[in-house]
Amino acid sequence: MKNSNLPTKYEKQAVAAQEKTRTLTPPVDIFDAGDALVVVADLPGVDQEHIDINIEKNVLTLKAEPSTRVSEPNLLHEFVLHPFYRQFQLGELVDQDKVRAELRYGVLTVYLPKVAEKQPKKIDVKVG
């Protein structure tokens, strides 16, 4: 029975662990608004306090914890809310101090202003 394909108890544990860390990928719209990148994400059931937006090394990470829970859906069960998680690689350099976000009716909008391009500096040559 060495080459058995039956799941072992270790695999069962792995499934349980996967269940615990399961996340949902929220659908997003991302567009270039000229001076900023705008990320719009559907995050239903999430309170403002439970959203975590992080930018590190040009990677934007969105994390959110849904909290709405009313009754046990004992008649019809079409959706389950798990924590939301999604990462994006940002192409443009973002001015991290000016990032702002707002949450409205379960939709998160993140504004990521681009860093103003450096203008070539002109140096006057004094002839003395």
């Binding site: 997003v28 719209d29 059931g45 709405t68 009313v70 859906p73 079409e78 389950v80 009716y105 379960g106």
Partner: protein, 151 residues
């Protein structure tokens, strides 16, 4: 009575099996897949329905609706929910989009309720993109506790 061999029924069964297989591989698809199809999908918005002895609760997963556009109506045992998912502002050029997954538009969904409800006392709250409709049951539909006599 389908006594003859129906190739399309075979295809349907195969299709369902494939769906289940994909769902096992990618659980996100099972749970969230239909949301990403957006308001144009056949069963948008997704609903959870539960009951206790007094009320029926309908939770509707619908982020980003125009609050003024939400219509909840009850007729006999039919609950009808209509609304509009607000589009983004329209002056964005199509080529400015990097991702476009959320979708927008009007939707209608009707649901047959399991019991008669008090249509005048139905309440609906829209919070954090989830619409909660609470439908109090009619007195006749509530369960009655029957005392058991022991002789």
């Amino acid at each position: 009575m389908r006594n003859f061999w129906d190739p399309f029924r075979e295809f349907e069964a195969l299709y369902r099996e494939m769906e289940q297989l994909f769902d096992q591989v990618n659980p996100v698809r099972r749970i969230f897949g239909r949301i990403t199809d957006g308001p144009l999908s056949a069963s948008y918005p997704l609903m959870n329905v539960g009951e206790d002895k007094d009320n029926v609760y309908v939770e509707v997963l619908a982020p980003g609706l125009n609050p003024e556009s939400i219509e909840v109506t009850v007729l006999n045992d039919q609950l009808r929910i209509a609304g509009e998912k607000a589009p983004l502002k329209t002056d964005i050029k199509p080529e400015a989009f990097y991702r476009c997954e959320r979708g927008a538009g009007r939707f209608v969904r009707t649901l047959t309720l399991p019991v008669e409800v008090e249509a005048d006392k139905v309440t609906a709250d829209y919070k954090n993109g989830i619409l909660l409709v609470t439908l109090p049951k009619q007195a006749a539909a509530k369960p009655k506790q029957i005392a058991v006599k022991v002789n």
